[in-house]
């Protein structure tokens, strides 16, 4: 038999099946916090090796990302696009589709929103212009995922490869669009026209936190409920857990596959739009925050659970806001965040392996 799509059976980091008792919850907590602590120590050793005091660094990151009023507001604002991306990844990963093309979909969504927003506010009421910009960003990102979706659904071509290719393509295309199609003629900096601050997504109360945060929270909770509580979500989970059982049960796997890609990419496009319409206001040439890749580990760490993902996204936001600040003040490049996150991922996978192999439940 020629199996074109990769099936990864994994002992580690599988979607959690809710079967939690109290003692189970405690074990979960230990199994999550222990590895994170271990990762902090290992990453701290790397800092020591390059001559930075790890305690000072971590302290600074927490101070800037979590404790200072300005920092925590930035952190919460940063969460918005990350939550949308995480929501999209949860849908895809739970359905067994490795959509690694989040960054391309994100950037194209961002560029679409940046092109449409400033243009539409000239004719339409602000709220309607924003809604239209969101819809356009979603549609463009969905379209971008269509080719990998069709290839996977009807040709069985591995989506890891195609989505990665499309993300490289999308990044370049976004740049081309910024430089050639939507260039703001009024500045010398290559960027799109800027959405005026008063036309952006409203801020929450008297803070600088963008209301995009609320949208992101709604999106990820909605995704979590759809995946765990509805027939549609269950169908996707069947496709993810055992594609042959899905065929045997009469599920339209190709259609579901395309739906998964559309939802996942659409949410990534929304992530781009929410960042532009809420925070950035425009897209500069060669702008690529690579949020998509950074969120993937968070979704793994959360075991594809929406609520846990909110927590991990919060953590990532603290690290990245604090890390960017530390880059300026302590001279530690913000790439350190990547290192830390990946060490956490590896220690957690190992912890889960140990856990799995010591309490292996037997057949009854």
């Amino acid at each position: 038999m020629s199996v074109e799509t990769t099936q990864t059976s994994s002992t580690a980091l599988e979607p959690a099946i809710p079967e939690t008792g109290k003692g189970d919850l405690l074990r979960r907590l230990v199994m999550t916090l222990g590895p994170i602590l271990a990762a902090l120590v290992i990453a701290g050793c790397i800092l020591l090796a390059v001559g930075v005091d790890p305690l000072a660094y971590y302290g600074f990151v927490i101070e800037r990302g979590l404790l200072s009023p300005l920092g925590v507001q930035q952190t919460l604002t940063r969460m918005a696009p990350l939550l949308f991306l995480a929501a999209g990844l949860i849908v895809a990963f739970r359905a067994g589709m490795w959509n690694l093309g989040g960054d391309g979909q994100f950037l194209l969504g961002a560029v679409s929103a940046a092109a449409a927003g400033p243009f539409l506010v000239q004719f339409l009421p602000t709220w309607l212009a924003l809604v239209c910009a969101f819809l356009l960003a979603t549609a463009v990102a969905m379209l971008w995922s269509l080719l990998p979706a069709l290839l996977r659904a009807y040709q069985g071509v591995n989506e890891i490869i195609t989505t990665l290719m499309m993300t490289f393509l999308g990044t370049s295309l976004a740049n081309v669009l910024v430089k050639l199609a939507f260039l703001d003629p009024s500045t010398t900096v290559p960027q799109t026209r800027t959405l005026p601050v008063e036309d952006r997504l409203p801020r929450l109360f008297d803070t600088t936190i963008s209301s995009g945060l609320l949208l992101g929270l709604v999106a990820i909770i909605a995704v979590h409920l759809v995946m765990t509580r509805t027939a549609f979500g269950l169908k996707l989970q069947v496709v993810g857990a055992n594609p042959r059982a899905a065929v045997h049960s009469g599920l339209g796997v190709p259609t579901l596959t395309i739906a998964v890609f559309a939802i996942s990419a659409g949410l990534a496009g929304l992530a781009g739009a929410v960042d532009i319409l809420g925070v950035q206001g425009n897209v500069r040439a060669d702008w690529n925050p690579a949020y998509g890749m950074a969120v993937i580990p968070m979704v793994f760490l959360a075991r594809m659970n929406g609520f846990a993902a909110i927590g991990f996204v919060f953590l990532l936001s603290i690290l990245s806001i604090g890390g960017e600040s530390a880059a300026r003040r302590l001279g530690v490049p913000h790439h350190f965040t990547l290192v830390l996150v990946s060490i956490v991922l590896i220690t957690l996978a190992i912890a889960e392996y140990i856990d799995h192999h010591f309490i292996k439940t037997r057949r009854v």
């Binding site: 509805t230 055992n242 065929v247 009469g250 037997r362």
Partner: protein, 523 residues
């Protein structure tokens, strides 16, 4: 009394001796203090139901697993068989129940796999040795054929050949007859005879009593991990086949009875005028690289009738079942259920109309192993009321119905929340049967429903199948076990190369007729 002292008495040397071997897995004891002596020149039959511990025993002899207690003696020396490589070096060759050949390689390449990695494969040497072995044993294989193109019987010969090429002194055959034709089984018996005459020891594992009685020089009976009895060559020679079977049954079940798998079948007559419930006409499916196609398959099944499909595995039975269920696209023909045309309908609609398919691949496609038992009951009904309302899961309703089904079908599970993959094959099968027999059933395709089940579950499953037919449904029973078909069906059709080569009424000389059809002769 250990068996090694016994063997010393009668002169034949033990190649391998097991002394009080116990193997524990978390929660279960697979083998409990088993003594066994395996001698040159003997076919030693290991007989037992599924779960009796045969496979674990083989796993330990072939180096896949290590005993928890007790010891294994090779040529009288206590030896820890650490790995498959070690087992091979000791001269223990195993032909596993599941084929262990690489389908993408040729026969020759498969025989060469396993040499030291820095060496060049010695193709010429191999050919010479294969020719020699083939000549003395009368088996012929094409060294240059791709394994994926061979029949299961041919693949088995390749595996036996591989064991012999490695100078095995002990050949273990695990459930080797389950995929063979009656003639293939006889051939294997003759081959084993020739091999033991050359001085090999053979361990032959089976759960079929007739084969045990027919081929064995010595029979050991395993039950729930324990060895419950041994019939020595002297006794075997003294007893008739029926007496042997009676004795084995007594050992296995503790009561005197004839073969419990053999049940009197009440012949039923169907009037020719009865309108068929399931009508299949000229069904065709194109062949693919990995599976045979179907060519003009036609049959009728009347209400209450049980039509059997016999044939060697891989002759299109699975394709037939999948085409009927709507899982496989057809290139022609029609399927009518109760007069209604089902052509062009998908799996879901066919199921709704009352056509149900019990798959033979319970873990591969029948269930989602990580999902709870409760959800697996309704895998084919996702989104339907009352278990889902407006697309939203009604957990209480699902759990309530699942609880009912667990009781009704006697599913042994710790809870309806237990992942189904942790249940035994028999219990998983009960869940699948419950799923297919849910309300609205008119016709059921059972694909190898008792494959891999233990005796109790086999008998229970067969009774379910009979009950379905008795309640007026049309039943198509696909099986590779001829005895099963003969004991249950009204008519038996034989499938070969993707076509039905003949159909016989199940009466009198049906066994002979079906057997002839299976090996390509006219009935």
């Amino acid at each position: 009394m250990t068996s090694s002292s016994l063997s010393a008495a009668n002169g034949k040397p033990d190649i391998v001796t097991l002394e009080r071997v116990t193997k524990r897995f978390p929660g279960i004891v697979a083998n409990n203090s088993v003594d066994l002596s395996i001698r040159a020149g003997e076919v030693h039959v290991l007989l037992g139901e599924n779960g009796a511990g045969k496979s674990t025993l083989i796993g330990m002899l072939s180096g896949l697993q290590q005993p928890s207690e007790g010891r294994i003696l090779v040529d009288g020396v206590p030896t820890a068989i650490a790995s498959p490589r070690h087992a091979l070096a000791l001269g223990i060759g195993t032909v596993f129940q599941h084929m262990m050949l690489v389908p993408t390689l040729t026969v020759a390449e498969n025989l060469l796999v396993g040499g030291p990695w820095w060496q060049r494969p010695k193709a010429e040497e191999l050919e010479a040795r294969v020719a020699e072995i083939s000549r003395t044993l009368g088996i012929g294989v094409n060294l240059h054929a791709k394994v994926s193109e061979l029949s299961l019987g041919e693949q088995q010969q390749v595996e036996i050949l591989r064991a012999l090429l490695r100078n095995s002194r002990l050949l273990i055959l695990d459930e080797s007859t389950s995929m063979l034709t009656p003639k293939g089984i006889d051939d294997l018996g003759a081959l084993m005879r020739r091999l033991v005459e050359q001085g090999l020891a053979i361990v032959f594992i089976t759960h079929k009593l007739k084969e045990a009685a027919g081929f064995g020089d010595r029979i050991s009976v395993l039950k729930l991990g324990r060895k419950v009895g041994e019939i020595t060559p002297e006794r075997l020679r003294a007893l008739s086949e029926d007496e042997i079977i009676a004795q084995i049954v007594e050992l296995m079940f503790g009561k005197k009875e004839s073969d419990p798998e053999e049940q009197a079948r009440v012949a039923r007559a169907f009037s020719a005028e009865t309108t068929p419930l399931l009508q299949v006409r000229d069904l065709a499916v194109p062949a693919t690289a990995t599976a045979p196609g179907l060519a003009s398959i036609s049959f009728d099944i009347r209400p209450g009738e049980l039509l059997g499909i016999a044939g060697i595995d891989g002759n299109g039975q699975k394709q037939l079942a999948e085409a009927l269920a709507g899982q496989l696209e057809t290139s022609g023909g029609s399927v009518r259920l109760a007069g209604e045309n089902l052509d062009g309908l998908g799996v879901g609609s066919r199921r709704e109309k009352g056509l149900r398919y019990l798959t033979d691949d319970r873990l591969g496609e029948g269930t989602v192993g990580t999902f709870p038992v409760s959800i697996n009951f309704f895998l084919k009904q996702i989104g339907t009321s009352p278990f889902w309302r407006k697309g939203v899961e009604q957990r209480q309703e699902i759990d309530r119905r699942a609880g009912e089904l667990v009781r009704e079908y006697d599913v042994r599970t710790p809870s309806i929340k237990t992942p189904i993959g942790r249940l035994s094959g028999g219990n998983i099968q009960k869940i699948l049967i419950a799923r297919e027999l849910a309300e609205g059933v008119k016709a059921v395709i059972f694909n190898k429903p008792t494959y891999g089940l233990d005796l109790a579950n086999t008998l229970a499953t067969r009774q379910r199948v009979r009950d379905v037919a008795a309640s007026g449904m049309a039943v198509l029973l696909i099986s590779t076990d001829l005895e099963e078909l003969l004991s249950m069906c009204d008519r038996i059709a034989v499938m070969s190369g993707g076509a039905l080569v003949g159909t016989v009424e199940n009466s009198g000389d049906a066994r002979t007729k079906v057997g002839r059809l299976m090996i390509g002769l006219a009935a």
